[in-house]
């Protein structure tokens, strides 16, 4: 009796079983593949994103801010931040649990190499699966950022420094800051613990004060008021204003007092130098609705074309002057409805420094491939003309006087003409904020800075922008001016970056 018939039958059964397997595989890997792959419980897609090769973030002077290092877990790579808190508010974080922020988010497609601009340079690169990620080179330099950090010390506040002719941000410091490293940890528990620690901290270290927090600008805003007055012909630096201790506000029984209840007035230039509130409140009332347009011209209340998500500044609404004149008087001295970011005040100073032309600010300078070839450069881009070159030149002179013999003498640097403006901004949170905005050298500006020390730092109510913030700006400017290297090469002094299409600016006049 041969058993072959049975062997064949058993064989057929096995083949049928395997056919069933093949059908089931088709069901899983073709029919249901999409829904299984995209099932919310299936973390593979997310893991893949976070385990992909990713370029580094570097400062303009070559310091590594963020980079991925190989690790032995499912993500294969760990995002590390060698500079810790120093650049946290610029780089942001790249977290499996929390997502991404800052440059990690804004330049994600460049960092991950998914940018459409990217191309394989040759077939060999493709064959060996070369990592086609991009490194983001910041316009910020480690030296400038450290100078900003050291100058501010452990006072809450912010320092922003930029190149007025290009819009490149050179320092973007907010204190307190945080270390993004723990947020990039692969253990969700560790990330949550770090995140809770940061968010429960009353000082809110994750808040990028430099561009995400809005403050009343105080008297630094008089730059905008004075510029608008000159630009519209409402007043000029020699226009005379009465010497007053306070200004009685229209439509109200309130009085607007000068700082320390002093009496001041005279020419607008004099009033600017000593930061006279009554004069500029009057200018604001004289300007009326034009103040709103003036703010707009400086980009305040507009969406800033910044490469990180900036908080939008605010001011009095258009068309409200006639029934709310006091708010315009207050706005003209940077109080009331006006709230701006430190970045925005640096841009105001930068616009004056750049002959009235406002450049689009940006923290990234270029994208490089792993071999160091530049794939793409960012900026310089003209955003808008804030004021005419003549107006800018007038304001520059007024700001020089502030540092020479006004409220901002603490910002003076021997051998360099510094132009600046102080601010002491009253706020509901406590002691006034100390402000200082400046640029230097005034004849051929290379750097513009804005400094805010929240609640005047340790001097409390005694603080003024001139005593607390101006020395910080002075240190940062002095450091920037002393630096050789990349931050100074992009701008040839006396050759401001202006497009030929810009009109109304006489050559060399600023």
């Amino acid at each position: 009796m041969s058993m072959n018939r049975q062997v064949r039958r058993v064989g057929i059964v096995v083949v049928v079983l395997f056919l069933a397997l093949f059908v089931q595989l088709n069901y899983l890997q073709v029919v249901k593949a999409h829904s299984l792959a995209n099932n919310p419980r299936n973390v593979r897609a997310v893991v893949r994103d976070y385990s992909e090769p990713r370029g580094a973030i570097l400062t303009n002077d070559g310091v590594v801010v963020a980079r991925s290092v190989p690790v032995d877990d499912e993500f294969e790579r760990l995002r590390t931040y060698p500079t810790g808190p120093l650049f946290a508010h610029t780089s942001g974080f790249f977290s499996f649990t929390l997502g991404a922020s800052g440059v990690e988010d804004a330049y994600n497609s460049d960092l991950s190499g998914r940018n459409l601009d990217r191309q394989f340079h040759n077939i060999g690169d493709w064959l060996i699966g070369k990592e086609e990620t991009g490194d983001v080179v910041l316009s910020l330099s480690n030296a400038a950022q450290e100078a900003a950090r050291d100058a501010l010390g452990n006072r809450k506040g912010s320092v922003v420094a930029l190149d007025p002719s290009t819009g490149e941000i050179l320092a973007l410091w907010s204190y307190p800051s945080y270390d993004p490293g723990p947020l990039a940890d692969h253990s969700p528990k560790a990330v949550q613990a770090a995140y809770d620690g940061y968010t429960h901290d009353p000082d809110n270290p994750m808040l990028a004060r430099a561009y995400r927090e809005r403050y009343p600008p105080g008297s630094t805003f008089k730059i905008v008021t004075a510029s608008t007055a000159i630009e519209t012909g409402t007043a000029n630096p020699q226009s005379r204003f009465p010497v007053l201790r306070f200004l009685a506000l229209p439509q109200s029984d309130k009085q607007l007092h000068n700082f320390g209840d002093e009496a001041c007035g005279g020419t607008m230039a004099d009033a600017f130098r000593v930061s006279c509130n009554t004069t500029f409140a009057q200018v604001g009332l004289d300007l009326g609705e034009k103040l709103v347009d003036g703010m707009k011209a400086f980009g305040i209340t507009e969406d800033v074309p910044f490469d990180l998500p900036e908080a939008r500044a605010s001011g009095p609404a258009a068309g409200t002057f006639e029934h709310n004149k006091p708010s315009f008087a207050n706005a003209a001295i940077g109080q009331g409805d006006v709230a701006v970011t430190p970045l925005q005040m640096a841009m105001v100073a930068g616009a004056i420094a750049n002959g009235g032309v406002l450049m689009a600010p940006h923290v990234a300078k270029k994208i490089r491939d792993p071999d160091g070839r530049v794939i793409r450069t960012i900026g310089p881009t003209v955003w808008r003309r804030a004021v005419s070159a003549t107006t800018a030149a007038a304001l520059t002179q007024m700001m020089i006087d502030v540092v020479k013999r006004g409220t901002g003498t603490a910002a003076a640097i021997p051998g360099v003409t510094v132009a600046g403006k102080t601010g002491t901004a009253e706020n509901p949170g406590g002691a006034p904020h100390a402000w200082f905005v400046a640029f230097a050298p005034a004849e051929a500006p290379r750097f513009a800075v804005a400094v805010i020390v929240e609640h005047g730092g340790d001097l409390g109510d005694e603080a003024t922008g001139g005593r607390v913030a101006a020395p910080v700006a002075q240190k940062v400017l002095a450091k920037l001016l002393s630096l050789p290297g990349p931050t100074t090469t992009t701008t040839a002094p006396g050759q401001p970056n202006l497009p030929s299409t810009t009109t109304g600016r006489p050559p060399g006049g600023r």
Binding site: M3, V10, V14, L17, Q29, V30, R41, E74, E131
Partner: protein, 452 residues
């Protein structure tokens, strides 16, 4: 056509088979090395540092196996070894991708497996001689099954008590039992098949043979199944059951055994379902894994995700996340293959098994001696059914029962057992070819000395 058989010479057919084998084995090693390189390239533009030792080791082991076949089974089928090396290679690449430490052990176990393969080829000079030791094999088989239950050396891993711990060695004696019991069954069934196929009494509509002949069978089989259920090794229980039934059917040609067997299986399964929580769990998870996707259903759901994420073409070696699947290197290795190599890869693996099984059954069909035929069929069925049980389990075609994927999964005992099965199949093939070649020689006009 055919040269007269030389004195002990293997003849031109044998030479052709061996050349085929060498070619296929070389191809398999190249494919494995290619996969190994691709996995490394997925991590960066660098060749794996240990590529040379890997390639040399793989080629060396495959060559040793090939030379052993040349020496001990020169007329054996030329495809089986190549297919086994390919499966082993794919498994190694995936294991190395998942866990380089496990891969080091796996290469060690592969060496042990090849050694067992060579030893089996060398020791079993006449497969028919194995019949003589059938009861020894049965005893050894049952004893190995009982070993993990012995206090002191038994060890629980993943809730199942299948492991024996002797000094630094861990092994699953159930894997050895599987081979031993199939040899016993083949020998016993060949001896008793006439008696077993003659029904002497009936139970209802079913005719049954003399219990005297049936009892030892039932004892060996029932005993092993009970032991395994006790040790919660459901996959092996199912495998034994299926193989036993298939062999009984092949030996007796009585479909009624299949009926009785199926009835017994249903009864046993129902009993197990009610008696064991873990069985219930497996079945519920199989019917719908989603409500328990974070607990009991976790690993199955992760396996399904892996298959789905792999899709048709797969993510590419080293580019998926098969680390998400628990036990990805052992029971769930097929899901890891599914994720990184896609439907193309899973189907290819399926085809390799089908070819292997096809060759196994062909050897059985060509065998004239009943013992060889039944043994070849039994060993092939073990491989086929075991593959089906684990692949069906991880793809949710059938309830999941933990068992290894032959030649592919990480696991020393399983690898050794499968290489022994391969050696036995090749020895049978060699013996079968020796006879048929001799017959062909006899039929040739120039043949000297007629044989019947």
């Amino acid at each position: 056509m055919k040269r007269p058989a030389g004195t002990g010479g293997a003849g031109p057919d044998a030479a052709a088979r061996r050349s085929t084998e060498l070619g296929l084995v070389t191809l398999a090693v190249i494919l494995a090395a290619g996969g190994y390189v691709l996995t490394a390239l997925a991590k960066g533009a660098r060749l794996p540092a240990n590529l040379a030792p890997f390639a040399a080791g793989a080629a060396g082991l495959a060559l040793v196996a090939h030379l052993a076949v040349r020496r001990f089974a020169p007329r054996a089928d030329g495809t089986l070894l190549g297919l086994a090396v390919l499966l082993n290679g794919i498994g190694f690449v995936v294991i190395a991708r998942l866990d380089p430490d496990l891969a080091r052990y796996q290469s060690l176990w592969t060496a042990v497996g090849i050694a067992a393969f060579v030893a089996t080829l060398a020791a079993v000079r006449r497969v028919t001689d194995l019949q003589r030791y059938r009861y020894t094999f049965a005893l050894l088989g049952i004893a190995s099954l009982l070993l993990p239950a012995v206090p002191g050396i038994g060890q629980d891993i993943n809730g199942a008590r299948l492991w024996v711990h002797l000094g630094p060695l861990n092994f699953q004696p159930g894997e050895a039992a599987k081979v031993l019991l199939v040899i016993f069954l083949a020998a016993y069934l060949v001896e008793k098949r006439e008696l077993l196929s003659t029904p002497t009494w009936r139970v209802g509509p079913v005719m049954l043979p003399d219990p005297k002949h049936f009892a030892p069978l039932l004892l060996a089989w029932g005993g092993s199944i009970l032991v395994m259920v006790r040790e919660t090794d459901l996959g092996s229980s199912l495998l034994f059951f299926a193989v036993f039934l298939a062999m009984l059917y092949i030996a007796t040609a009585r479909a009624s055994y299949l009926g009785v067997g199926t009835a017994l299986f249903v009864a046993g399964a129902t009993l197990a379902y009610h008696a064991f929580g873990h069985v219930r769990e497996r079945v519920t998870t199989w019917i719908n894994p989603w409500p328990t996707a974070d607990s009991h259903g976790y690993q199955l759901v992760q396996a399904l995700f892996a298959f789905g994420s792999g899709g048709f073409a797969g993510t590419g070696l080293g580019l998926g996340s098969p680390g998400k699947i628990p036990n990805a290197a052992t029971d769930f290795v097929y899901a890891a293959i599914g994720e990184e190599l896609g439907l193309i890869g899973t189907t290819a693996v399926l085809l390799i098994y089908l070819l292997f099984i096809g060759v196994g059954f062909r050897i059985a069909l060509r065998a004239e001696q009943p013992f060889l035929k039944l043994l070849a069929a039994g060993l092939t069925t073990i491989l086929g059914v075991q593959t089906f049980i684990i692949l069906g389990g991880v793809t949710r075609l059938i309830p999941l029962t933990g068992i290894t994927m032959p030649f592919v999964s990480y696991g020393g005992s399983s690898l050794v057992a499968n290489f022994v099965i391969l050696a036995l199949l090749l020895r049978i093939s060699d013996e079968v070819s020796r006879r048929t070649d001799a017959d062909a020689d006899a039929a040739a006009p120039a043949a000297t000395g007629a044989r019947r």
